[in-house]
Amino acid sequence: METFLQQIINGLTLGSVYALVALGYTMVYGIIGLINFAHGEVVMIGAMVALSVITGLVGANTSLPAVVIILAGLLVAILICVAIAYSMEKIAYRPLRRAPRLAPLITAIGMSIVLQNVALMVWGRNYRTFPTLIQPTTHNILGAAMTDLQMLIVVLAALLMGGLVLIVQRTRLGMAMRATAQNPQVAGLMGIDINVIISAAFVIGAALAAVAGLMVMAYYGIAHYYMGFLLGLKAFTAAVLGGIGNLAGAMLGGILLGIIEALGAGYIGDVSNVCGLSSLSDTLQQKCAANDGQVSLFGSNYQDVFAFFVLILVLIFRPSGLLGERVADRA
């Protein structure tokens, strides 16, 4: 039971980060139908910039409080990520809006390679560690441990997601975004400047990505020029799981994916333990005896298989994701 709760907490933390990144994918997809492959790299750049600013400020021995240092890092990261996403849309995606559907996908891949290698040039090939500014305290929740960092990540992510929902549902910008997602031509006729709306989707997504980058770096304590790839892949999976183009779907998908992964990693070893069958084979019996009755077919290194497997299962039964309604009829 404690392991279960512990894995739920870990999954919720990671899932919140996935959800924030997934929102960036889903907003862009909902409006222009593009899989923005470079979004994961924006998260990575956010993490790296925040790391550089924070280590710089810590190294400069300013007597600033830790919270201010972290906020400064976050602010710079957000600004840079927003600038990158904005120019990326302008350079690589906007000219291709009427092009065949796969053309912008290839430019997105190109941008992703470019961003990754720029990061490699600037920050190098090695893992960078995040300085511990605040000693994390661990709280006990029904026998499971939750650090205040984890709490902060979950709460902050929830606040940001709530804010985004408010923007989309209650403001004029949000209304314009929804209109553009439904039908760009008609929205244009209603006086909405579609280019501004599309830029806004990229900018909001990038800001969320910067926050997610800082969160994931603080959580794992390290950052790396290659970290955006897998994170982006997971977040995109989450967006599709929930139904791509759907904001609530991205949040649900992200959190579900995080929890599924954590539970999968936590239990797959026990579930696939074959020692119950040791009466069938002598070699197996010996192996089990040597390994304290633990011989698993699958270990926690199959965690990613688990996530994708669930995705495939969900899509077989709900071909447009958990909350997705319309089926994109563009092949």
């Binding site: 009427r98 996908l105 430019t107 891949i109 290194n301 199959y302 497997f309 495939i312 092949a331």
Partner: protein
Amino acid sequence: MNNAGRTGIPLQVWAGVALVAIALAVLPFVAALAGQAWVRILNFAMVYTMLALGLNIVVGFAGLLDLGYIAFYAVGAYTYALLASPQFGIHLPFWVILPIGAGIACLFGVLLGAPTLKLRGDYLAIVTLGFGEIIRIFLNNLNAPINFTNGPQGINLIDPFRIGGFSFASTESFLGITFTGPQKYYYMLLLLTIAVIVVNLRLQNSRLGRAWEAIREDEVAAKAMGINTRNVKLLAFAMGASFGGIAGAVFSATQQFISPESFGLFESIIVLAMVVLGGMGNIPGVILGAILLTLLPEVLRYTMEPLQMGLFGRVLIDAETIRLLVFGVALVAIMLFRPAGLWPSAVRKRELEVRKAAA
């Protein structure tokens, strides 16, 4: 072109074919002047051509976006590696394994295709992507509790091509000309690639090829015209996968070493880039894309360092990084200037012009 009447093909065409044939025949010796590494790169270009042509069936002909295509390549490669290496002590000849590899890859293609037929567009893309990752993770971890794939270390000492006592891996002299291992492989690969190209050309103009095209353009209309869309789509997956399997087996045999690292998502994406950048659905375009995207990074590898030395007098950015950087920029630039690909099919080109005119 003058009509040569019943004899069919005019003389100029034969002359052209002969010229191309001679050029292809001497190419490995020209490349060898720059080093044997270049012959190997040519061989890679041909493996990628086969791979890209296979993916072109799925993406270009049938319009099904597949981001996990490399999985079939991996299946073919591992089939060859397991059946012709000390891993299990099995050493079957290449010609026996090739159909087995193609068959198993085909089976995996159906395995992926069957449950995902209902999915459209980008949902299909992510499922295929997930499938590709699942295969890679299994290859990476199937070394415990029973060792199948040797895990991340990969499989070593894979048998080279061998016909009777004639091995393709060693250097030999014929009629006074010395053939190195890669050069011998070159001719072998050239034959296989030509075979794959011919099969693809024939497929495109077949009943099946037209059915794929119909599905790509409008699935509902295709169904109304009496096309069994389910079977035809499954066939696209299966045939695409088989070509991937063949390319994988060939890769295994030429390389003699494989590891899961060669079969990541990035590889899938690069093969997709070859197809799209060359000109989706157009066989010459796809071949061009495959050759270009194989050669470009290699050319950059050898030119970037001297170029920087010449311009700035020192190496500012290490060759590996700048090579990928330029590669990424090139992908973006080519797509911006030629959105339908470098060599699009006539139909697509016309469509794009109409759309532009309408806009």
